[in-house]
């Protein structure tokens, strides 16, 4: 039999995103609403002046939350359904399985991305260069979030523990750092703490690309380097930690 890798990839996407959305539409509502809570608060508190930064923050939050979600999903499928045990003894490879689940998290973020894109077109008047810059930042943010989520899935023993990690990491990466507001609003010396989160660098690049904040070219370059290095490091770490056939 000829093995179709495309079918194998699609299986993860269908199982973890498509069928969940189709059979439980309430999950879709929950996912769509997630980035808008903070956006609405930021909008009212800033009298609308931070709306464009908040929309960019929404893009970053969606990437972080959906990327991190992989850990809950993988842990649930592995521990509660024993799916991983079933798939280890089948022709699917671990890389295809995990790539499919990662893709399914991206599919889950599509409704959010559509709504945020409409808001961005209306309120930010974003240029092509800025669009590409924000897209690249989102991709890197998604990659390190997925890798982090995957790593946590390898250490969390049950899904409850996984959910706790997820809430904590989501707060540390998307709510506390200057994602929905500019880093310049944080006074020194607390600003240094913000640099611990890689999403701070995602936000700095995105916010400067629309001209909301001005940073030196070297600082932006440094932000790109940090973001790329963190993504690569977490991907390598996640791959090294991955266990398919147990020892």
């Amino acid at each position: 039999m000829k093995i179709s890798k495309f079918s194998q990839l699609s299986a993860s996407v269908m199982a973890n995103a498509f069928y969940a959305m189709k059979n439980f539409p309430v999950m879709l509502v929950n996912t769509i609403l997630a980035p808008f809570g903070l956006l609405i608060i930021i909008f009212f508190v800033s009298h609308g002046t931070l709306l464009n930064v908040g929309i960019l923050g929404g893009f970053i939050l969606v990437m972080v939350n959906n990327g991190i979600s992989i850990q809950g999903d993988l842990t649930h499928l592995r521990n509660d359904m024993k799916l991983q045990d079933m798939l280890v003894s089948s022709p699917v490879s671990p890389a295809i399985y995990v790539a499919g689940i990662a893709l399914s998290e991206l599919v889950f973020s599509v409704p959010d991305l559509i709504v945020l894109s409409v808001l961005a077109v209306i309120f930010i008047h974003i240029s092509v260069i800025s669009t590409l810059t924000v897209a690249a930042v989102m991709l890197l943010t998604f990659m390190f979030s997925i890798s982090l989520g995957f790593f946590i899935s390898t250490i969390s023993r049950d899904v409850i523990e996984g959910w706790a990690f997820m809430g904590l990491i989501s707060m540390l990466l998307s709510t506390l750092p200057p994602v929905y507001y500019p880093i310049t609003y944080i006074p020194f010396p607390f600003r240094y703490l913000a640099y611990i989160s890689p999403t701070t660098f995602s936000a700095i690049i995105a916010q400067s690309s629309i001209g909301f904040v001005k940073f030196s070219a070297s600082f932006i370059l440094t932000s790109w380097i940090v973001l790329i290095m963190v993504s690569i490091a977490l991907i390598v770490f996640a791959v090294k930690r991955s266990i398919w056939r147990e020892e």
Binding site: M1, N23, S89
Partner: protein
């Protein structure tokens, strides 16, 4: 026929503190098998570890395993197209219908969309699951969910199916229904099964291996095992027996006041005559797997300290 060769298979688990526990100890087998091959043993005997190693989920600490001509320790990918597994406590994905679960599993195994759809419809028809196919698992009974899981692995056309305690937790009727499905499937597949239920092993198995504390205690067909232990008959003497007859054979006095005597055919015949003459109430049967298990291993319901 599928060839299964196992040489000195051992598995030692280490916990986080470095404490070692041995799940399999030097198990060796050389068999040509078909039908249903059953592993029985108490909790922690090594059944699940055995299945997980042979089905390429787990690496052994030592030893070789060849299944259908493939070294599954060294070349797991070579065998994976030919095998399918339902692990202990496996569940259907709860947000997908029975049909969607089967379809997704087939896609994971690499079938094209068209072929997966065709196979899904075929297996639903074959397993008479039409009226459950579009329901979510929470709306299905335990027995139907198990049936869907079995349908799912069978739909892949894998030659060798591993089922780890597939009937645990099912009510007696659902269990019997699943037995009938398995009996039907064994004509086309080799089914490697573990179970706690000795009457299930006796009913279904073409070949049995008994594990205890990681060691292979006995293997063979039920008749081979009966013959090997030398006691093909079991006489049960009911409560109230005054012991006024000399009992020959292997005598076990049970806690409930009954006596169980295991013996060969001639001894059983002589004893039965004496018991009839003394009007003692008794029953005589071929030694059951449960009797054999009790003799070799002890009470199946008493588990070992570790779970594997």
């Amino acid at each position: 026929m599928v060839k299964l060769i196992i040489r000195n298979l051992s598995k030692i688990y280490k916990d986080k503190r470095g404490k070692r526990s041995s799940a399999l100890k030097n198990v060796s087998l050389n068999l040509d098998i078909n039908g249903i091959f059953t592993l029985i043993g108490r909790n922690g005997a090594g059944k699940t570890t055995f299945i997980r190693i042979v089905s390429t989920e787990l690496l052994p600490t030592a030893g070789k395993v060849y299944l259908d001509g493939v070294d599954v320790v060294k070349n797991p990918k070579e065998i994976r197209e030919r095998i399918a597994v339902i692990p202990q406590e496996a569940e259907l994905i709860p947000w997908m219908t029975a049909r969607e679960n089967i379809y997704a599993y087939l896609l994971w195994r690499g079938f094209s969309f068209k072929e997966a759809k065709k196979r899904t419809n075929t297996i639903i028809f074959r397993f008479k699951l039409e009226k459950y196919a579009d329901k979510l698992p929470r709306k299905l009974s335990g027995g139907t969910k198990r049936k869907v899981l079995v349908a799912l692995v069978i739909s892949s056309n894998a030659k060798i199916i591993f089922l780890d305690e597939p009937t645990t937790g099912l009510d007696p009727i659902s269990r019997k229904e699943l037995w009938s499905v398995l009996n039907d499937l064994k004509k086309e597949h080799l089914i490697i099964l573990t179970t706690h239920y000795l009457e299930e092993a006796e009913e279904l198995s073409d070949y049995i291996i008994i594990l205890n504390k990681g060691k292979l205690v006995k293997s063979g067909t039920i008749n081979d095992i009966r013959d090997a232990i030398g006691y093909p008959y079991a006489i049960k003497i009911f409560k109230g027996f005054k012991k006024n007859i000399r009992l020959t054979g292997k005598v076990v006095k049970k806690n409930d006041g009954t006596f169980q005597i295991f013996s060969d055919e001639i001894t059983a015949n002589n004893l039965a005559k004496k018991l009839i003459n003394r009007k003692v109430k008794f029953s005589i049967n071929p030694t059951s797997l449960e009797d054999i298990f009790y003799m070799l291993v002890g009470d199946i319901n008493k588990g070992e300290e570790h779970e594997n």
